[in-house]
């Protein structure tokens, strides 16, 4: 019976054990020499990792940085022999304390995983069994390696949770991941990986999807673990996360290591073009008003100079344009939870979005920022307050009357995949969004769709593809094109770049800035990422527990924060790698 996940370590038979003839050049705790990984698909081998080598010393952190698809996760999984179905792993050597892992049997692997190498995956909501209490998951790590008896394990679980900073661990151990906050469940996941004091911890994007304050806590926890002498392999697409912890950084692109060096050298004196672009892609205060991406990339043609763009240039609006395009006064929204308690998700929130500007709303999950977006879009009913769109009453209209005005306001969400019909190709998705083109011929509509695609920097060929076959960046471009289709005045961007790799995020942010300049668009930009907010916004609202705690220009908010919560947020920001001119 073939296993589903265990990978085939092919060359064990081919190359004799290197210990015998070729002594490994450097003997760290873990040393990987010339690791290559391929996947067999339809009988053809696709190489995804080429000749990766590194060495990990006790108490050291090696970071592997690259965008999704760069092979960084596959590299990490190969180290624990779980590369995946149909994979072929080839390496000159993978030595863990002198033992060659390539020759490990299934049984030996199981003794290594969890006990000698701990692994932390991205999102604890799905990386811990969602049907079981977290305590059981941690106890399972102990039980699998025959640690203690039931009672001892139960006590150890509580100790472990306490050690990773979970308050009231006795109660938390009985709760399921969905009953815990993002930070607490990520800590529980880390506790399950640390359970048996492994020598090595591999953390694969451990802070992606976490709020900035929680991210700071998780990174601090990893740093503490490192202090205790545990070696850490940290995998991330974000150099600013890595900068905090890494001693040595590998930058991967297309399955190859393009740059490898000490953290100091890679962050401050990057040699490779790609490393430099990654560092420059991190949005922050310093990048405001500047382009994040390098020169226009191959897929993205800058639409700025296009003569055709005239046909969709900002149209003279027939609405009153003296005041703000979107104004909210004293919005209140309450929810009743299934057990009958009433929570106020949005509590007397007011804002005004001026034409051609960006209003950033920043806050952690649960702060009410997305509910505010839904209220602005009139997708949820208000408990009190008013929303005015282009000077017209927007929130109190009946839905049929509202529909005429609806094309003035569009929305882009975090995950476009779930907002696309998976059976429609990109062209059909965009055709469907041409709500005001009823009178046009099919050919004219298709021409407009092609034009929209050009505007967002997508070549025409992409239009025939289905959402599943588009990359994350391409999907988000389609989502933006769909939002642009009815020619709106306002676009609500709800965490629109949060799921993207830093380099792709940079391209999308540049695109948004270009579109705003060309078309005089106004953005209501919602994000938990302070760097992105700082980069893009003209005005910023900081929200916490449904209340706006602070508002002002990015300069005020980030350099002279008045509210303690804002200060806490800003102090949680990871160290930014130095930006290269």
């Amino acid at each position: 019976m073939t296993s589903t996940i265990d990978s085939v370590h092919a060359p064990a038979a081919r190359t004799p054990t290197p210990r015998a003839d070729t002594p490994a050049p450097k003997r760290g705790r873990l040393s990987v020499a010339n690791l290559s990984v391929a996947f067999r698909r339809n009988g053809i081998l696709h190489q995804v990792v080429h000749d990766v080598s590194f060495c990990l010393e006790p108490g050291q952190c090696v970071a592997i940085v690259g965008e999704s698809g760069s092979g960084k996760s596959v590299t990490a999984r190969s180290i624990v022999g779980l590369t995946g179905k149909n994979s072929v792993v080839d390496a000159q050597s993978i030595l863990l304390d002198g033992d060659d892992l390539r020759a490990a049997t299934k049984r030996q692997w199981r003794r290594i995983r969890g006990r000698r190498i701990g692994f932390i995956l991205q999102d604890a909501l799905v990386s811990l069994d969602p049907l079981r209490p977290v305590g059981k998951e941690i106890a399972e790590a102990l039980a699998l390696h025959h640690w203690g008896n039931r009672r001892q394990r139960a006590a150890k679980v509580i100790d472990l949770l306490r050690a990773v900073g979970v308050p009231a661990p006795e109660n938390r151990a009985r709760q399921r991941p969905d009953e815990l906050s993002g930070g607490l469940r990520q800590r529980a996941l880390i506790a399950s990986a640390l359970a048996l004091d492994p020598e090595i911890i591999i953390a694969d994007e451990p802070t992606t999807a976490l709020d900035v304050t929680v991210q700071a806590q998780v990174l601090a926890l990893l740093a503490e673990t490192k202090e205790r002498g545990v070696s850490v392999i940290l995998i991330s697409h974000d150099l600013s996360v890595v900068a905090h912890l890494a001693d040595h950084i590998l930058v991967m692109k297309g399955g190859r290591v393009v740059e490898s060096g000490s953290a100091d050298q890679v962050l401050n004196d990057p040699r490779h073009e790609y490393t430099r672009s990654l560092i420059n892609a991190v949005p922050s205060e310093l990048t405001r008003g500047k382009r994040l991406g390098a020169a226009p990339s191959d897929t993205a043609t800058t639409p700025a100079a296009d003569a055709v763009a005239v046909s969709i240039a900002p149209r003279p609006t027939d609405h009153d344009c003296s005041g703000p395009v979107l104004q909210a006064v004293d919005l209140v929204k309450r929810f009743t939870t299934p057990d009958g308690t009433v929570t106020t998700a949005v509590d007397h929130v007011s804002f005004a979005l001026e034409r051609g500007t960006t209003l950033g709303i920043v806050g952690e999950s649960g702060s009410g920022k997305s509910t505010t977006a839904r209220l602005a879009l009139a997708l949820s009913s208000l408990d009190s307050g008013t929303v005015t769109l282009l000077g017209q009453d927007w929130s109190s209209l009946s839905e049929p009357r509202r529909r005429a005005l609806r094309r003035e306001i569009a929305v882009v969400y975090q995950d476009p995949l779930s907002s696309f019909d998976p059976r429609w190709n990109a062209e059909r998705i965009l055709l469907d969004s041409l709500t005001d083109a009823a009178g046009l011929s099919t050919a004219a509509k298709k021409a407009r769709v092609v034009e929209l695609a050009r505007q967002v920097g997508l070549p025409q060929e992409i239009l025939q593809r289905f959402p599943l076959n588009l990359s994350g960046g391409q999907r988000q471009r389609i989502a933006i094109a769909r939002a642009l289709a009815p020619n709106p005045s306002v676009i609500v961007l709800d965490e629109a770049v949060s799921a993207l790799d830093v380099s792709i995020q940079a391209q999308i942010l540049d695109l948004l800035v270009d579109l705003q300049r060309q078309r005089g668009l106004s953005y209501l930009f919602i994000s938990h990422d302070l760097g992105v907010i700082n980069h893009l916004s003209d005005q910023v609202l900081v929200m916490k527990d449904g209340v706006v705690v602070e508002r002002g220009t990015p300069d005020d908010i980030f350099n002279r924060p008045a509210h303690p919560y804002t200060r806490e947020l800003i102090s949680s920001l990871p160290d930014h790698p130095r930006r290269n001119p």
Partner: protein
């Protein structure tokens, strides 16, 4: 699959409980839960009422004079009856009353547990059913339990594998799901009773006699549930929490049994609610093939002889079983997936 077990420490006494803001469970939980139960029971009553009404309407819509039919059933021959004879029957069954009155009488009877009297056997329908329900319920429950065993073993063994086993898994599911009870029953009878002599030919009330009839019902059901479970199983195998468990040092078998299985059985539980009711109709065929006593045989007999009170009684009974089965399904759901409790 209990949520808490002895390895979690005992709940601290109320006084010593650390002050932690509870995330969602507030003390007012009882009221919505009570409301949900009331809603469930209300729904069940509506379903039963609908089934009873439909059964009555079908009865009323049948062609021919009812009194004549009743007399013919009793006599076993179809002849013209004199008005005097008919008047007596009409009087006995209240057939001279307007339809609305008959309907109200009928529903009123149901409320006090009176399902009417069999035309043929001169006994209350409830008595006819009660005498025969035991073997059928035993058969149904055994069949559903067997189908779960077969399905879980087969899916756990074959789902998400590579190579020949993977193909075989799904093909067997589909084939099994398509087997007709009638054909399968006869084949099992020929091979295991007549050929090998392992089981009695006439199953009777003995424990061993129930095996073949139950298998006849269980195999197609296992195939059917297996198709749904396999899809979920393979989806769950790809989930990050499975990789997490493997990274902790858990083997493939452990992951399948301890994590994936639980995630993949929800659709099969839904189907089981339906299956508990549907195997009763399957029992009609199986009880005939294996000469077993049971409600199925009563139903076949009643339909053939137009013994309508018995037919409607059984229809209402099956509806009631569906309702009970679905309540059990709801309960099983929250046991398997505790997240649904708060949803």
């Amino acid at each position: 699959m209990t949520r808490t077990s002895s390895n979690s420490p005992p709940r601290p006494a109320p006084g010593t409980r650390p002050v932690v803001p509870t995330l969602r469970r507030s003390p007012t939980l009882t009221w919505p839960r009570l409301r949900r139960i009331v809603e469930k029971i209300g729904g069940a009553v509506v379903v039963l009422f609908g089934a009873a009404t439909a059964a009555f309407a079908a009865q009323a819509a049948l062609p021919g004079d009812r009194a004549t039919v009743i007399l013919n059933i009793r006599a076993g021959q179809a002849i013209e009856r004199t008005p005097a004879e008919l008047a007596q029957i009409n009087e006995q069954y209240g057939l001279q009353n307007p339809l609305v009155v008959q309907y109200l009488d009928y529903i009123g009877g149901l409320l006090v547990g009176d399902l009417g009297t069999s035309y043929q056997q001169f006994k209350p329908v409830s008595e006819v059913i009660l005498q025969q329900i035991g073997p059928t319920v035993a058969l149904t429950l055994t069949a559903v339990a067997l189908s779960w065993l077969i399905m879980i073993a087969w899916v756990t063994l074959t789902a998400g594998r590579t190579g020949r086993l993977a193909g075989a898994g799904a093909v067997v599911d589909t084939t099994a799901a398509g087997l007709p009870h009638y054909w399968l029953g006869i084949i099992l009878l020929l091979v295991f009773s007549l050929g090998l002599g392992w089981f009695p030919v006439i199953s009777g009330p003995s424990a061993i006699g129930i095996v073949l009839p139950a298998l006849t019902l269980a195999i197609p059901l296992a195939g059917f549930m297996g198709q749904a479970t396999r899809t979920e199983f393979e989806r769950s195998l790809e989930q990050p929490f499975v990789i997490s468990a493997r990274m902790r040092g858990m083997g493939d078998t452990g992951v399948r049994l301890r994590h994936v299985l639980r995630h993949s059985v929800l659709p099969a539980i839904t189907l089981s609610g339906w299956a508990l009711g549907a195997t009763i109709s399957g029992a009609v065929v199986v009880e005939t093939v294996f000469s077993r006593p049971g409600i199925g045989k009563v139903l076949v007999g009643a339909v053939n002889s137009q013994d309508l009170p018995v037919v409607t009684g059984i229809v209402i009974l099956i509806a009631a079983l569906y309702v009970v089965a679905n309540l059990l399904v709801d309960l099983a759901y929250t046991l398997v997936d505790p997240r649904l409790k708060s949803a």
